[in-house]
């Protein structure tokens, strides 16, 4: 037997919560108690404190609902994955079923890459992956990386969306790039400072360009005098190469130095500063 004391004017909202989970308990007697200090009569009883209690209750209920839905959603997703894995061959031979499943996945915001099998749907898998690379390049590539996308970051970005299914590896990227070459002969994987990058811009990376990019990549920015002193290039050549790199978007020009010499920055450093 339980006795529930309800404080009418005080935290009754809080008591409501404690009532909800105890539905298997029998409530025999509800004891309405008057609080010692009254908050006010009439409308003034609804002061901020009370309103806050209401909104708190609302928030708790809402949170619980969201949590439940999330659990349900995760469960449904894992069951869906199971189903797809088990009946893969049937799904593939049945066009309408396949399109239904694709619809469900789209509705639930599931990456097609998560459900494709790279061995059996070889083409489709890499086709999908190449779309992802292009999307990534269009969204982030130009501004953040100046057309040179670090493969490590691309991989971690792609894999973060896949929730552990079908982890993409560097070899997958290489296969995809090979498939994409007929579309855009500029696309290739290049190596700078031991890091690999996907190059999408229309620029033949000559040894000169590469040398400058490597320096900019390491210290953030380069200047004409810096290049001249380190690589023993003539000023004219240095200026020409830097101009070419700026004009193709690989480097950003900075005229703000107080000593008057222009600096040329690697846009990849936007994320490294401060």
């Amino acid at each position: 037997m339980y006795e529930v004391k309800v404080n009418v004017y005080g935290g009754w909202a809080a008591n409501m919560i404690s009532l909800i989970p105890s539905k298997n308990h029998k409530i025999t007697k509800i004891n309405f108690q008057r609080p010692l200090i009254m908050n006010g009569i009439g409308l003034s009883a609804f002061d901020e404190n009370h309103l806050q209690q209401f909104s708190q209750l609302g928030k708790t209920l809402q949170d619980r609902k969201t949590e439940e839905l999330e659990t349900q959603f995760t469960l449904f997703k894992s069951l869906l994955f199971n189903y797809i894995d088990t009946y893969r061959s049937q799904i593939e031979s049945n066009g309408s079923l396949q399109s239904k499943i694709m619809q469900i996945c789209q509705f639930l915001n599931i990456e097609p890459l998560q459900i494709l099998n790279r061995d059996t749907d070889h083409d489709q898998f890499y086709y999908e992956l190449s779309c992802k690379i292009i999307e990534f390049n269009n969204e982030e590539g130009n501004i953040k990386y100046g057309g040179l996308i670090p493969t490590l970051e691309l991989l971690s970005e792609l894999n973060s969306k896949l929730e552990g299914r079908n982890i993409i590896t560097l070899d997958d990227l290489k296969t995809t790039i090979d498939i994409m070459t007929p579309l855009n002969s500029e696309i290739a994987i290049v190596k700078l400072n031991k890091q690999q990058y996907i190059k999408t811009f229309k620029l033949s990376l000559s040894t000169d360009n590469m040398q400058i990019l490597q320096i900019a990549n390491e210290i953030g920015c380069v200047s004409v005098s810096m290049i001249r002193d380190n690589l023993n290039w003539s000023v004219i050549k240095t200026k020409e190469v830097l101009k070419e790199l700026v004009n193709s978007g690989y480097l950003w020009l900075d005229n703000g130095e107080t000593n008057g010499e222009s600096l040329y920055w690697d846009p990849g450093w936007i994320n490294n500063l401060f």
């Binding site: 501004i143 700026v246 900075d254 107080t258 936007i270 401060f274």
Partner: protein, 220 residues
């Protein structure tokens, strides 16, 4: 809303500390990106701090809740006295958004003009009619465009069941019904622009007193 924000200053994007961001980029595509980033930054900053007016140096001239009875200067003073929490934010109030002392860079005037021009073209800014000093250019920043504001007002009036009620401009800005709304404390000039949109659409009617001054507005 704005009081919460004052404790947590606006977080500038990383590109704001990237020195070339303050030099006009010669490459067309890069420049387009740069311009877009600046516009985004200005709109985000103004929305966050509820800035209504910027001058041509990017210094906020009016921000926060603007009381119609107060002059614009006092509302600015109110804000600057509460600051000194974050350098970047305080710097913007003093020197404008186009100067970043932390990396000692400032954007050149030509590009600033182009930014404002672009903002005006896209409807996210408009000139302030300055009677006292016609040379000083100042701009209303429409992080919500007047037509956005008019939609917000209309939705609010409908949701409160106040369709057809006559409001004074002051009531719209500071009335009890407006508390908690995004337009609470809106700059009166911007409110007027929004109301004008409604008038043009035939959704609002201005009521004038004997002297021909606008006394109130009826929205339905």
């Amino acid at each position: 809303m704005s009081t919460q924000h004052q404790q947590q200053p606006f977080k500038f994007p990383k590109i704001y500390n990237f020195p070339p961001f303050f030099t006009k980029q010669p490459h067309a595509q890069t420049y387009a990106t740069q311009l877009q980033q600046w516009i985004q930054l200005i709109l985000d900053y103004c929305r966050y701090n509820r800035v209504w007016i910027l001058n041509e140096k990017g210094v906020p001239l009016s921000q926060g809740n603007v009381d119609q009875d107060q002059s614009e200067l006092t509302s600015q003073d109110l804000n600057s006295s509460t600051t000194a929490l974050d350098d970047e934010d305080a710097d913007v109030r003093k020197k404008g958004i186009f100067v970043n002392d932390k990396i000692s860079r400032s954007l050149d005037t030509l590009m600033i003009q182009e930014i404002f021009q672009e903002l005006i073209t896209s409807g996210n800014a408009s000139y302030v009619n300055n009677k006292r000093n016609a040379n000083a250019k100042t701009y209303y920043i429409h992080w919500n465009t007047p037509s956005d504001w008019s939609t917000i007002l209309l939705n609010w009036i409908e949701s409160k069941g106040q369709s057809g009620t006559v409001f004074t401009f002051y009531e719209l800005c500071f009335g009890d019904l407006s508390i908690g709304q995004e337009f609470y404390g809106i700059h009166p000039d911007i409110l007027e622009l929004a109301i004008n949109v409604l008038v043009d659409d035939g959704r609002a009617r201005l009521l004038k007193d004997e002297d021909g001054k606008v006394a109130g507005v009826k929205i339905q």
